[in-house]
């Protein structure tokens, strides 16, 4: 028994070499297909992770807040009576998450949770001189909050620091108020007002957020929003962003709180990403089918052209299995060589994209790479496709009647 397919490989390679133009064309075809698949994979990966990074850069993966106030029915009504009620929904006030200090370590200990940050958040006004801007006031512990949104990395001026009496504000808000790092301004909520010193300006990636964000120490936030000791939100970051929804569902069952994952907050984005993924999968599948059909058609022709040779090989003692493997190997070789060229071409395309396609500001639109693993996977897939494409022609070649094949 022998294991090395030296005979099959040699005959397969010679047959391919003999087919020159035919072989060249199909390899170029496979290369083009593989390049498209690999490039689209890289592009969509880059696009999606860029979009996700931008979206999740300024928000928590999971937010946990106190349940809404609801109106409890005035009275139980007696059985058999029908009561018409018209209940006006209650105006919602800021409420603290019940017992959040005890909840914090529990949430932190959950598997998959990377960080938890308490936050007190509400509306307010930022005042300086004649300027008045409505703002979203966020009281946080800087170190914890930094783990959620990477605040320190978003600082564009100054140094992030939240000692009592200090604040970090968005870049556009600073421009509106005319403050620079070190300047003071006043925050007012309801009737309370407090002067704050700006330690840093941040760019959260969205102008509207930059125009409204004022981040203060947790205690300052609590006193400004009249929730002493309270936290309106607990924000969670998780290791795997796509696991957020499942974790949120789990938390919803465990705690009497409103839990929202980023997927629910950004449902439209998620469905857009999903649609995109489905479309690219379809495109990739169609391209691969075309590749398979291309290889198959070339090999079918080759089997017919090589009938005589197949007959001679069979007469010389080649088994049906050997003949079949000769053609399977041709498919594999075409797939593998085409893949190698295709992946190389995709690398060039990716390079061209990152080099030449720029946004209006002259910066690359977003960064895309072709991870070696993706390249390898696509190449492997194309090679398997090559073998699959060769299946029918190979069977046909193996089934050929040698006596008839020689007579042709």
């Amino acid at each position: 028994m022998r294991f090395w397919p030296g005979f099959e490989l040699q005959v397969a390679l010679r047959f391919l070499r003999e087919g020159r133009m035919q072989t060249l064309l199909i390899i170029v075809g496979v290369a083009a297909g593989v390049a498209v698949v690999a490039y689209i994979s890289a592009l969509i990966n880059g696009l999606q992770s860029n979009t996700l990074a931008k979206t999740l850069g300024a928000q928590a993966h999971i937010t946990l807040r106190a349940p809404d106030d609801v109106v409890t029915p005035a009275a139980l009504h007696a059985p058999g009576t029908t009561v018409a009620t018209d209940t006006q929904p209650r105006a919602q006030r800021l409420r603290a998450v019940a017992n959040w200090q005890a909840l914090l370590p529990l949430l932190e200990a959950l598997p998959g949770v990377a960080a938890v940050s308490p936050m007190v958040s509400g509306a307010g006004l930022a005042l300086r001189g004649e300027a008045t801007q409505s703002i979203v006031l966020m009281g946080v512990e800087l170190d914890r909050y930094d783990h959620i949104v990477g605040l320190r990395s978003k600082v564009v001026a100054g140094t992030a620091s939240l000692a009592p009496g200090e604040a970090i504000i968005g870049r556009e808000l600073a421009a509106d108020l005319g403050v620079r790092v070190g300047d003071r301004f006043t925050v007012r909520t309801g009737t309370v007002g407090e002067p704050l010193r700006v330690t840093a300006l941040v760019d959260l990636g969205v102008k509207d957020l930059n125009r409204r964000t004022v981040i203060v120490p947790l205690r300052a936030g609590q006193s400004l929003l009249a929730l002493p000791g309270g936290a309106t939100h607990l924000e969670l970051a998780v290791h795997d962003v796509w696991a957020a929804q499942a974790l949120a569902a789990q938390l919803r069952q465990q705690y009497p709180a409103r839990v929202e994952s980023w997927q629910e907050t950004n449902a439209q984005l998620v469905s857009a990403l999903h649609a995109q993924s489905v479309s690219t999968t379809i495109i990739r599948a169609v391209v691969l089918v075309v590749v398979v059909l291309g290889i198959a058609s070339v090999l079918v022709v080759s089997v017919v052209q090589k009938s005589r040779e197949i007959g001679i090989l069979r007469a010389m003692g080649a088994t049906r299995g050997q003949v079949q493997r000769v053609f399977l190997l041709q498919g594999a070789v075409v797939g593998a060589v085409g893949s190698a060229l295709g992946v190389a071409l995709a690398v060039v395309l990716v390079w061209a994209f990152t080099t030449f396609v720029r946004g209006s500001d002259g910066q690359p639109l977003f960064f895309i790479t072709l991870p070696p693993a993706t390249g390898l996977r696509v190449a492997l897939l194309a090679t398997v496709c090559g073998v699959l494409a060769a299946l029918a022609p190979a069977r046909r070649a193996a089934a050929m009647d040698p006596a008839q094949a020689i007579r042709l």
Partner: protein, 240 residues
């Protein structure tokens, strides 16, 4: 049935095409034939007499419809396709009239193909043997040439070398000189006789040429699917 000493033992061989269909046709009507080791047989007969069919059946390229066939003492009926292939590889060499060689391989590679087929690689010993065989057939200069660069006679000699390289006890040749001019034809035939004399390889040669047939040891003539004549050829007929 004693089949010892016989390379081929054929009993009541029948072959029909399109079996069970309205156009069913029997082309071989019960042949008995015995080929002993080292025989040199000419198989003659008019076109359509069933020579090629008989040769294909002897070569295990086609199956018979009924009858019994022992090749090297092994009963062929009941063997699987894979077993037939292995038996063919072991016991038989083929030389065809046309399309003898694989055009993508050089002369030497064509001759080493049977070894490559069996082992997955060509050992130095086998390569040397193939070289020696080609040299003995006067092809020392043509080893690395493609078939398209060789004359018809040379191609046929390469095919001969390929048929012989695995030392089969029997070579089946289907009009091996039918496509050659008189000179090449005589050359190739002389070569077969030489191999026969040197190695004791048995030959069954299909031919239309009575002059070549006359130089064989035994003549089997097929007419209309029956053996019409089966007789030794006297040595005196062997003119040179």
């Amino acid at each position: 049935m004693d089949t010892s000493g016989a390379l081929i033992e054929l009993q009541a061989l029948r072959k029909s095409y399109n079996l069970g269909q309205p156009n069913e046709a029997e082309v071989l009507h019960g042949l008995d034939l015995r080929v002993r080791r080292g025989e040199f047989i000419a198989l003659m007969g008019p076109s359509g007499s069933g020579k090629s069919t008989l040769l294909n059946i002897l070569g295990l390229l086609e199956r018979m419809t009924s009858g019994d066939y022992w090749l090297q003492g092994e009963l062929v009926r009941g063997l699987s396709d894979a077993d037939l292939t292995l038996l063919r590889r072991r016991a038989l060499g083929f030389v065809f009239q046309f399309h003898h060689l694989l055009p993508a391989f050089t002369a030497l590679e064509n001759v080493t193909l049977p070894a490559l087929m069996g082992e997955g690689r060509v050992s130095p010993v086998q390569r040397e043997k193939a070289r020696g065989l080609l040299a003995a057939l006067g092809l020392a200069a043509a080893m690395d040439k493609r078939p398209s660069e060789l004359s018809g006679g040379m191609q046929q000699r390469v095919a001969m070398a390929r048929a012989l390289v695995m030392d089969p006890p029997l070579v089946l040749a289907d009009e091996p000189t039918g496509n050659l001019d008189t000179v090449s034809s005589a050359e190739v035939f002389a070569l077969m006789r030489r191999i026969h004399a040197e190695r004791g390889t048995a030959f069954v040669v299909v031919t239309h040429d009575p002059r070549l047939a006359a130089r064989c040891d035994r003549l089997v003539e097929l007419i209309d699917g029956r053996i019409a004549r089966d007789e030794p050829i006297p040595a005196s007929a062997d003119f040179q």
